[in-house]
């Protein structure tokens, strides 16, 4: 389909209010392990800016960053942009603006303003989903920075492994769970979700440590290179 034939993307209407933004963004951010900054005046200021941007540019783009003009790239800075920068934000405990802070941060006042740099390669615990969002015996895909991971739950245990099968690059998170093994949906290669090992030679996949705290699943990954 050419761009000319593609239907226009739906965005918020001209009568959108800050309360409208709060009511849709809040529950979404919560599923990602974030909440609005505890500094309510600051939250109101950022949302007021986003409403200005909505009126001018047609969507709630991040007030701290500039659009590139490439629609695909610019989608990554529509608020809340947490899924596109989840490892970066987990490292600094907030989104770039500080509109959202990690759920486990009690006071967001100190997180306003400073854009701290964290050394690439630093191990970061990234909130990925509430435990309740993944049923025992199931597997789900998450993207952390540029990494594609499969999150598998067996009973009350949760595991994280690379999503990419080493055989033909099938998406393991679309596969089938069988005890502690996932079968790739494309050709049935089996991986142990605890270790990433498979019976096929030189085809193991990476695994990542998982922690569960206060009902949220965290995965520890090395921080990718920042591109704010």
């Amino acid at each position: 389909m050419t761009d000319e034939k593609r239907p226009p993307r739906r965005v918020f209407g001209p009568d959108t209010t800050a309360e409208d933004l709060k009511s849709y963004m809040g529950p979404f951010a919560q599923r990602l392990g974030y909440k609005f900054n505890t500094e309510t005046d600051f939250v109101d200021e950022v949302l007021a800016s986003e409403l200005e941007i909505l009126e001018r540019d047609g969507d709630v783009y991040c007030p701290c960053r500039i659009r590139s003009g490439d629609p695909k790239e610019d989608l990554k800075i529509v608020c809340p942009c947490i899924p596109f920068f989840s490892d970066q934000f987990a490292a600094i405990n907030k989104c770039w603006c500080g509109l959202f802070i990690r759920e486990d941060i009690e006071d967001g006042a100190d997180l306003i303003g400073v854009v701290e740099e964290v050394e690439p390669g630093t191990i970061i615990e990234v909130p990925v989903m509430p435990l309740a969002d993944i049923a025992p015996g199931s597997i789900r895909h998450v993207k952390l920075g540029k990494r594609d991971l499969a999150i598998a739950r067996v009973g009350d245990e949760v595991f994280a492994l690379s999503n990419v099968c080493r055989h033909a690059f099938g998406p393991l998170a679309d596969g089938f769970m069988d005890g502690y093994e996932v079968m790739c949906p494309w050709h049935g290669w089996r991986y142990d979700v605890r270790t990433g090992t498979t019976d096929h030679p030189n085809a193991d996949v990476s695994t990542f440590p998982v922690t569960i705290r206060d009902g949220m699943v965290y995965v520890a990954v090395p921080l990718g290179r920042a591109k704010p």
Partner: protein
């Protein structure tokens, strides 16, 4: 020493930075990048990327030093406040 602030007109941190600079009587050149158009805008964005490595605002340039975001302690330090 030249002080230059690259900002967005809609950005809360940019407003906070401008207020901070004004309150400390710091003279600076201001470029509101989102209000530029065409080649001027492209050139300003390229300059911000060159200076800061990204497209986050504000970007404050004081001589050879670059501060990204509203960072009071760094601004105090490099402006000698």
């Amino acid at each position: 020493m030249t002080t230059h602030l690259y900002a967005l007109s809609t950005c809360p941190y940019c407003r906070m930075t401008r207020k901070f600079l004004d309150e400390h009587d710091v003279a600076y050149e201001l470029t509101e990048v989102d209000l530029l158009e065409g080649d001027d805008k492209t050139a300003a964005v390229d300059e911000v990327v060159r200076l800061s490595g990204g497209k986050s605002f504000p970007v404050l340039v004081v001589g050879d030093e670059v501060v990204v975001g509203f960072n009071k302690s760094r601004m105090n330090q490099i402006l000698g406040l």
